[in-house]
Amino acid sequence: MKTSFDLIDLFYISPIIVLFLVSLVPILSKVLNGNKEPSSFFSVFIPVCGGLAAAVLSVGASLYIMGDPNIKSSPLAFSGALIMDGIALWTSFLVSIILCVIILISKENPYTKGKQFSEYIFLLVNSAVGMMIVAWSNDLIVTFIGIEVMSLCLYILIALSNETRHSKEASIKYFILGSFASAIFLYGIALMYGTIGTTYIHEIVQGAREIISINRVFLIGTGMVALGFAFKVSLFPFFNWTPDVYQGSGTPLTTFMATGVKVVSFVAFLRFMTTDILGGVHSEAFITTLQWMAVLTIIVGNVAAILQDDLKRILAYSSVAHSGYLLIGVIVAGADGGQSIGASGVVFYLFAYAIMTLGAFAVVSVLEKDTDTPIKVDDLKGMSSRHPLLALAMCVFMLSLAGIPPTLGFFGKFYLFSAAIAEGFFWLAVWGVVGSVISVYYYLRPLVVMYMSDEAGAGIVDRTPATRFAIVIMALLVILIGLASEPFYMQMQASVLSLY
């Protein structure tokens, strides 16, 4: 039994520490300033710097781990509570970057700027802390704690937004359903813990295959945990909260949920599913169930998005559909062990998905003048002539989400479908394709109104330079990484190799 932790453990979790400390800056300065909102130096610049520092520290940690010849396998920190493998560090890097962008967007969005911005930043940054914990955790109970940190912050953040009606509804829906699912998740952890005697994933891996075939309580526990994750990543039939919450929340928060929460939840899901629980006797049924969930998620997400008018809601349903695609990769990874191309496909897709979704929501954000009028698809009308660059960027995001080459989204799908075909899940790939075809319809609608309609829609809010900057950067990334996906994918693959 270890009695203490090493200093190196503190280095590993330094991104969290930095973020937590940074999160205190605005709120402290507010307190010290006599309850007046601090300047944006404290509330925006320092947190963004903190986010960048966290990103740098993540990269630093991974460089350290790669550079140290003594480290043979992925190091564990805090007696096994956290694991510092490639995916974990990738994800924390990604989350840091997402956080920076979200902070920038938040300062310029009517839902979030204004009153209580320092509290907002505090909660937002700590939500990112929770995300990192989820991404790093090697212990199911730590995963649970991470999810709760992340989620509780978000519940409060959503309720905090400057709009009252929908945000409260969104908050309470998210809260009740989230806690409900958490309880099921936790019950699953309890059943697993009781039967295998541990909640450490690296220990579960060793016994899972054996115990899952003899102990049905363990199996039901794994099922419940999987369903808990399914809720977090909004898979059918647990996706219903997603559109409502995404629509009702302030756009920066929606963005954060659609990118950060989804990324880390999927990473944790992937970790969980690659613990060899799909290798046992009952794996057939388990895999079949997951496959049906994937297919139905793809179909339901896409068909529901077709009939929407609210842009955020469209993106929410599209996010559901993308969860379906990702689940294909997770199934493949689960069926084939963590080192398969399924896992790297998932990670790459998450990366791609985060970038393009971030961009798409940022476009929604610049359109928002106040908190009363939701952004409809028709509000994009005439954007091509008034804001050609933003329209082009939106066009890139939509095409990428639809998976048209040579954008990033195409390569994401390519790797995922490759994984499915390689492991013989051919029909999953076919359903993925069918879903993509349906999705084209609603992804093209923004293009239609932007370029093919002469009427004028809602104007862009002025003085949103940071958001616009972020949009352009994201669009460039979508194209450039799309064209040069190789090095990134190789990184993902390398990072996946350390996943057990």
Binding site: I172, K173, I176, L177, F180, A181, I184, R216, L219, I220, G223, M224, L227, F231, F236, P237, F238, N240, W241, P243, D244, H282, A285, F286, T288, T289, W292, M293, I299, V300, V303, A304, A305, I306, L307, I438, Y441
Partner: protein, 642 residues
Amino acid sequence: MSNELLFAILLQAPLVGFVINGVRFQSKDYKFAGILACSAMAISFACSVILSSRLLSMDPANRHITSTLFDWISAGSFNAEVGFTVDAISAIMILVITGVGFLIHLFSVGYISHDERPSKYFAYLNFFVFNMLLLVLGDNLLVMFVGWEGVGLCSYLLIGFWFTDREKAAAGMKAFITNRIGDAGFLLGIFFLFMEFGTVNFQDLNALAPAASLLSWGEPLVLACLFLFIGACGKSAQIPLYVWLPDAMAGPTPVSALIHAATMVTAGVYMIVRLNSVFMAAPDVMMIIACVGAATALIAASIGVCQNDIKKVLAYSTVSQLGYMFLGVGVGAFMPAMFHLMTHAFFKALMFLGSGSVIHAMHEEQDIRKMGGLKKALPITSFTFTLGWLAIIGIPPFAGFFSKDEILWYSFASDRGAPFLWVIGVIAAGLTAFYMTRLMALTFWGKSRVPADVHPHESPATMTIPLIVLGVLSVVGGWIGIPHVIGAVLPGHPPNLLEGWLHYSVAKITLPQDAHVMEWILMGVSLSVAGLSAIFAYDSYVRNPDRPERLAKRYSRLHNLVYNKYFVDEIYFGRIINPLIEASKGLWVYIDVNFIDKATYQASGFVKSLGSSVRTLQNGNLQTYALYIALGAAIALSFIMG
């Protein structure tokens, strides 16, 4: 001059004429256009004469001049060159085309002088001659096909020359499409021949054709001949594809003379003669050709009896005469068929031009019931027309007598022939004599029925000179092919020059030797049938002008049937074309719009309805969502637990 250069000039003279006139198509300067076109034709004619005379000086067994320009299409094993050959058969053709063509061009200068677009007219005419020359000179099937379709195109353009008239434009379209049906058959014929012999060159094909007769219908060669004959049917207006030719009379009359009497329509006969060795190997197909030819001759002649439009009468006469030619090639009478082709070109061109002269004089009136007694007003036209009349009804020694009689003799006596073919031929000859006499009687003889405001006058010299020349040819044209049996009793024993000329070019056919008596008897019978028929017609239309009406009344049903051309057009339109259009509309509306397109709609409609049902489930109620979670968990866990 080298042969290549001669070929080049021969072909390019009309082409140059076409291009120059085509570029100045909006010009109204008919003199320039006419002189250009005529001189192009004159040059071509000169070249043809030179080429033919060179042929004449060559060894009769190997009498051909070939010139290859370049490889046209080569793909895989297929190779077609743009190559030209003039030999005994094509020499006749080019002489007729350029010679008669020149005369018709000359005639046109006067005829078209009042038109809006003389340049365009001459351009088309020259282009037609160019294509016709390609057709006859091409040394392989593909080059022939180029000309084959090219003349069809020109025919289309010229029939529809006055295209502002909807009927005339429709006639052009009808001609082209009917020809296309034949062309499709022609193409299939080419494919079969290529598949069988691996070449499309005429000399190779004739050399490779088997000497023995092939009787099986599965033989590619037999099918090839059948499909080629369908092609010939289209171009040469044989049953069942003859319907376009009467309508083609919508074009200017010289065009009818050139294209629809003298040259283009005989292309089918020419093609079969060209491939005579191949066709000889398929006796069954030849029998079909003979029967179709005979039937066409008879039916077209019978329709001609009741027509009142001067050009329609001539058109049906043309169809009928083409039937004779097919009867000829069908029974193996290749030489007589070519002979008749040539003489027919002379007298039918003459008659068409004559009718043109009449129509010109009558101010575009074509109904023979409104003519009569024009002999006095149009002396030259009338006289030359009479020569043509004598030629076509086969009165010796006019041209038509020799050629027609030769065909009839072959159809009776050849080993490919049969007596019934001869009987049909003779009946057709009788009908021909009748309707041609009727035409003469109603147009030139008897009392004038010309409306008072029309003052017919003789045409200018550019129009009458061609008439005179063709009139002479209609008389003497037959003398180059005097049959042996007649030649033997004539002073000086004139030889059958044409037979000598074509001796090595066409396949031999077995004829009974020493059957002179029979030949004389048959000749007498056919001659007397024609003569009696002509006299009866003269009697009916000049002496007793009310008799035809009485007869028509007595046999009203028959008259009605014949008068309406056996309702063939009506059947084609009512039973084939209109149903096809209706069916196409049905395809469009029911299959394309309401089935294929609708399937797409319904697929997207299905997706949308799926979407709306998902939206219904998404009812906004927190507890419903919780229910979905619980229910989903229950079902998923049940599945997982098996």
